[in-house]
Amino acid sequence: MNSILTTNIIEITSSCKACDHCISHCPADAIAGRLGEQHHIDYSKCLNCGQCLINCPFGAIHDLSSVEQVYEALNNPALTVVVQIAPAVRVALGEEFGLAPGTNVKHKMYASLRRLGFDKVYDTEFTADLTIMEEGTELIHRVYSHLGLEGYEDKGPLPQFTSCCPAWIKYAEDNFPAILPHISSAKSPQQMFGPLAKTYLAQKLNIDPDKMVVVSVMPCTAKKYECDRPEMIASGHKDVDFVVTTRELARMIKQQHIDFLDLPDENADKFIGLSTGAATIFGATGGVMEAALRTAYEILSEEKLDKVEFEAVRGLAPVREASVDIPVKSLNTALPVNVCIVTGTQHVKDVIEDVLAGRSPYHFIEVMNCPGGCINGGGQPIRRDTY
C-alpha cells in the first residue's frame, strides 16, 4: 500500500457492539474485528468516507472535528473568515430542524452562516461550475488528442475519470496506481475554492491572505482528509483551513441558539458566490456527468440545447451507462460520447480493470464513493428511519 494518508478521520469508539453492520457498508474492506470483539479500522485502507459512521446502528463511530478551531477563528477579530458550502448540504440540513429530506434550505443556510459570524458567505457551487469549465475542457482536449488532431498531442489517455470525490481518489491511489493518468487533473470544487479565495478574492476585497481563514461546510468526512493533503497549498498558504460537516453545522446553529426556521432568505456574497443549476446537481450521482454534458454539448456543437436534462445519466443504480451523440461543428461530424457513472467505490473495480485491459468502451467515467452521491455522504444527517 502506497497510502499517502495524512490524518485519520474516522474512529470506532468503545461503544462498538461488534455487530459487523459497518463491515457491510465499507467500500474498501477496511474494518476488521471478529463478531463480539470491538472492531477497528485499518487506516492503510480507510477512505475516510464515513459510510460506516452514518450506518452504525449504535452511533459508535465518530469523526475528527474542527469545530473548536472554527469557533476560535470566528472569535478572533483580526481574521477574515470566509465560508463555502457544498450543494448537497442544502437538501439535508433542514432534516436536523424537523424538515423532510430533500427540502431546499439554501437561502436560510446562507443566513445562518452570517448569524454564526462568518465574514463572507460563498458557495462551492461556484467552483463546481469552474470545475466543469476546467474538467470539461480537459476532456475535450483528450478526445482531440485521441483523434490525432494537431496541437493536441499528449493530452492524456481516455477514458477520463472525474476527480471530485476524495474517497475515490484515495482508493485509486492505494489500489490502482496505473489508473491515475486517467483521472482528471482538475481539483475538486472544494480545493478550487481555497486557492481562489486566498488569491483572487483577497485581491478583490483587499485582504491579506495571511489573515484569511477558509472554512468549508461539506456533506463529507473525506473532505476533512482532502483539505489536509500536503500538496493543497497552491495559494502559498493552506488552501482550505477547516472542514465542518452538515451535522456539525446544525450543531453549531443549535449551540448559538439561532432559530433556523425563522431566518430570512439571504443570498451568497459576490465575486465567487454565484452558481448555476448544473452545479447544484453535483451533489447527486450522475450530476457531474450531466453538468459536463450540458457544457460540452453546447460548446462543441455551438448550438443551444432545447432540453438541458440528460435523463439517461440519472438514477440510483450502482453502475449506469449512456451514450450521447454530440455534433462537433469544427470537425463537421457527430461524435458518439460513451459515459459511465459509478456510485459506490466497491463497484468500480471491474470498470477499472476493463480500462487497464484496453477494452473499455467509455470516454468519460464519473465515480462517487457514496451510494446516491454526496447527498448520502458521511457528514450528512444520520437517518435511522425504519420501514
Binding site: 499517502i4 442544502r90 476546467e134 483572487y200 495559494s235 454565484l274 448544473a278 460548446i299 451510494p371
Partner: protein, 116 residues
Amino acid sequence: MSIFLEREGITRRQFFKGAGLLTITLVAGGIFAKIGIDIFKASDKYIAQRVQGLYDLDEKMALRRSHENPEVLQLYQDFLSPGSVSPVSEKAHHLLHTRYGKETAVMMDELKHHAA
C-alpha cells in the same frame, strides 16, 4: 402393533395448550426478528428524496449551464486568463489542477519553487 392401538392421542385441552404456546412463540419471534431487521436495514428512501430535492432546485435556477455563470466568466477575464475566457490557462493550471499518487511529491517541489 399394539402400541398404535393403545395410544389415545392428545386431548382437546392439550391440543389448545400446544397450539397456543406455538402461536405465542412464533408471534414473539416474528416481532423480535422485525425489530432486528429494522435496526439493521434502515430505510434508504431519504436518498431518493434528497436527490429529487437537488433536481427540483436545478429546475428553478435561472441559469442551468456552467459556461453561462457570469462570475466564472469574469474570473477568467480578470484573473485566470486576462482578457479572454480560456480554461486550463497557465494560472488555472497552477491553482486549480493537481497530481496524484507518487507525483504529488514532484508537484510540491514545483509549488515551493514557484513560491521562492
